[in-house]
Amino acid sequence: MNDALVIAGQSYGSRLLVGTGKYRDFAETRAAIDASGAEIVTVAIRRTNIGQNPDEPNLLDVLPPERFTILPNTAGCYTAEDAVRTLCLARELLDGHALVKLEVLGDPRTLFPNMPETLKAAETLVRDGFDVMVYCSDDPIQAKMLEEIGCVAVMPLASLIGSGMGILNPWNLRLIIDAAKVPVLVDAGVGTASDAAIAMELGCDGVLMNTAIAQARQPVLMAQAMRKAVEAGREAYLAGRMPRKLYSADPSSPTGGLIGS
């Protein structure tokens, strides 16, 4: 079945996107990402520790950009200006690579997005030629605004970043999915495999997660579970679930031909 996820004209076989933070070490990072089957992996952009450990391994040696689509993020940015600066540095770091994840945070306690700043940054980045995948609130109106600005994917939260609280408002996600002409990915909040499957069954085009894998007791095993959950959820969505009926009175086995009748 050819069921590729297409983002900014590029096709991807996997609908699971994963982050690279919070792992014990780079070996575990790579093992979990391999088990997840993800082709798109997010990274953060940070200052080098000048003069300290110049020989310490580099994340991009572990996850070579020739093999993975590196998705630089703007985690930790609270203004449009900081987010744009960060992604200009990311584009230089990744040799002109245009695909980026925009997130502008509004509050360190909840990490909820600051939507006015997110919209402002999206406009600037789209104008500068970036392909913007954007972390946003699950407000269908603002998700539509981001699409109209020219973002290549909208990525509403399912619940707070790192919370593992799952899909808290499936109906808002549905409203966003129904209206969107670009891929909709759940970004943030997935805690376990069933959450990812629910997101996909709702009709999401993909799921982006980090903590649910990295903070599992066995990250590599959870990465594998998430791969299966996203695939299963996608297939269930495409297959179309049966209608919900409180009383079925319609058994699966034949009603005739019973012995002794």
Binding site: G21, T29, V43, A44, R47, G51, L59, L208
Partner: protein, 67 residues
């Protein structure tokens, strides 16, 4: 001598130092990184020709784990 602010830290260096010189002094030559000078990207191809000036603010960044 000129004063620079490299990743937020003040330091004093010789006149005429280029971005390339600064990176190699720190063992960062050839690493996957990006440099911003006073808010503008310094493309990799221009590190060798970009001389630093007094008061320059530099950001040198790499990719790290993140979601």
């Amino acid at each position: 001598m000129i004063q620079l602010f490299v990743n937020g830290q003040a330091e004093t260096v010789d006149d005429g130092l280029t971005v390339s010189d600064l990176l190699s002094r720190r063992g960062l030559a050839g690493k996957r990184l990006a440099v911003e000078r006073n808010g503008e990207i310094v493309p990799r191809g221009r590190h060798a020709e970009t001389a630093l000036a007094d008061g320059d603010r530099l950001e040198i960044v790499v990719a790290v784990g993140g979601g």
